[in-house]
């Protein structure tokens, strides 16, 4: 004969509420970042929660959010007048040097030159690339294969010269990357080590100069998900309320 307990029936419904809350939180983050360059939308993966009792039986304990993963579909590109606004079309990440020496990765390619002439992103973190920009470079341009071109004065007049190469990094499991503030990703054991390569080769994406990649949040999809999340929350709430009413009836059996 199978039986339940007040603890079990209330906790399962409460777990459903917490899961619904987490679901709404994740969707809200996606919606809030609909205009963030290079933002990759998050997905919450749920799993059934069961506990093994000492007797060996499995008992139902509700649901839990197993992990938050990010989905790396391509965002839409829009053009920009700044030649150092870079977008990646395809797989890959730009490499940044953090102040503490670690390497971070990002899809947000809004770069500019700081007072010292270093190529940095909006937060001042330098872009990691091979080469260097000479003094007196008049104009910069980045080719799809990552070659950094500068227009310089030479004996023959002005001409374009390659002064560096921007390579991209990729990971076997980008969903395993850790997200940090400011659109940054950090590698973990789950993501695998960064593999650096030339843009456009062996499946790596190309760099589009003078363009920025938008967020890959699809507003209509996010709103639909929000409705589903709200309905699920309401259903678990009903289950919790009814469990409470049943227990109240049992308590009132004998006045």
């Amino acid at each position: 004969m199978a039986w339940s307990s007040p603890h079990a029936v209330l906790n399962i419904a409460a777990g459903g509420l917490l899961a619904g809350q987490a679901y709404v939180d994740v969707i809200s983050a996606n919606i809030a970042n609909v205009n963030t360059n290079g933002y990759k939308r998050a997905r919450l993966d749920f799993q059934e929660l069961l506990t093994r009792l000492s007797g060996g039986d499995m008992t139902r304990t509700g649901v839990w959010p197993a992990q938050v993963t990010h989905l790396f579909e391509q965002g839409a590109l829009r053009s920009s007048a700044n030649p150092l606004d870079l977008a990646i079309e395809g797989e890959g990440f730009f490499r940044l040097r953090l102040p503490d020496g670690r390497t971070a990765y990002t899809r947000d390619g809004s770069f500019h030159r700081d007072a010292a002439g270093t190529i940095v992103n909006a937060d001042g973190f330098p872009l990691i690339y091979e080469g260097g920009i000479p003094e007196g470079a008049l104009e910069l341009h980045v080719n799809p294969d990552g070659s950094l071109m500068a227009r310089v004065e030479t004996a023959n007049g002005q001409e374009w010269q390659q002064v560096g190469t921007i390579r991209l990094a990729r990971f076997i499991n980008p969903a395993g990357l850790l997200t940090e503030a400011h659109n940054l990703f950090l590698p973990t054991a789950a993501s695998g080590a960064a593999q650096v390569g030339t843009p456009g080769q062996e499946g790596l994406g190309e760099i589009i100069g003078g363009a920025l990649e938008g967020s890959n949040t699809d507003l209509s999809q996010a709103m639909t998900e929000l409705i589903i999340a709200q309905r699920s929350y309401a259903l678990s709430l009903r289950a919790l309320q009814q469990a409470d009413e049943l227990l109240a009836l049992a308590v009132q059996l004998r006045r």
Binding site: A13, A19, I172, N173, A190, A239, A250, Q252
Partner: protein
């Protein structure tokens, strides 16, 4: 009357158990691959009810009366859930029979939840990191590049064949499978019966087979049954109180 009390009490116990299953189903409304649970309600063994005659003759049998209701263990409904398009290349859904096979430290487990990714070594794994087994019973190793899975379960990496998804088919999943940790299913006794299994759809995930409308209707039924049982207990208690306190009272 005591018999009536226990009978009604069994309805309360059954009601709370059914509420637990319903709460668990509703909590897992958005869990891919989740299979709803229900319970089988049956009578306790019946007993013979007889009427004692006036005088000391033999009793006249009236009929059988059951002691109340008992709940069996929860049974799982393995009908397919709705399939949702996600567009993720490593999200797979099974159209038809069969389960994905996973290798876990506790043995082989089965699931319909096809949300897969690659681990740091390029192995195909599920959300818990357990390797997905191919038709040859071994984990599937992929690498960088475009992954395509055709309806037969053949995996192509950059258009080169790189593996085959293995499906386990059970003739009677409800009898052969039991829920285990993380909502994965373990085989009890029977090994997979084999068979072709269904087709694989890439970019789709099978969602929970819980129907909110039906579940809410069950919940209403549980509430009414519980209220009715509680009322019976109160009435029985009142009658018992009268029998104890009022019968044979000498004014």
């Amino acid at each position: 009357m005591i018999r009536g009390l226990y009978s009604a009490a069994s309805a309360l116990v059954a009601g709370l158990f059914r509420q637990e299953l319903i709460a668990h189903d509703l909590a897992n409304l958005n869990t891919p691959g989740y299979k709803a649970a229900s319970t089988r309600l049956s009578d306790f063994a019946t007993m013979l009810l007889a009427r004692l005659p006036a005088g000391m003759g033999p009793a006249t049998p009236l009929g059988r009366l059951t002691h109340g209701v008992q709940t069996g263990a929860a049974i799982t409904d393995f009908s397919p859930g709705p399939v949702q398009a996600t567009g993720q290349p490593l999200d797979l859904a099974i159209q038809g029979e069969g389960f994905f096979r996973l290798r876990t430290p506790d043995g082989e487990r089965f699931t319909r939840d096809g949300r897969f990714s690659l681990d740091a070594n390029g192995q195909l794994v599920n959300v818990n990191g357990y390797p997905v087994l191919g038709a040859n019973g071994q984990p599937i190793r992929l690498g960088f590049g475009q992954v395509r899975v055709d309806p037969n379960g053949t995996i192509y990496l950059n258009d080169q064949p790189a593996g085959q998804i293995g499906l386990a088919v059970f003739a009677d999943p409800a009898a052969s499978l039991q829920r285990s940790e993380n909502g994965l299913f373990a085989a009890v006794g029977a090994a997979p019966t084999g068979g072709a299994g269904g087709t694989i759809q890439q970019g789709y995930v099978e969602m929970a087979n819980v129907d909110p409308a039906t579940t809410m209707t069950h919940m209403l039924a549980v509430m009414r049954a519980y209220q009715a049982a509680q009322r019976i207990i109160q009435i029985e208690d009142e009658m018992l109180g009268r029998a104890v306190n009022d019968v044979g009272r000498v004014p």
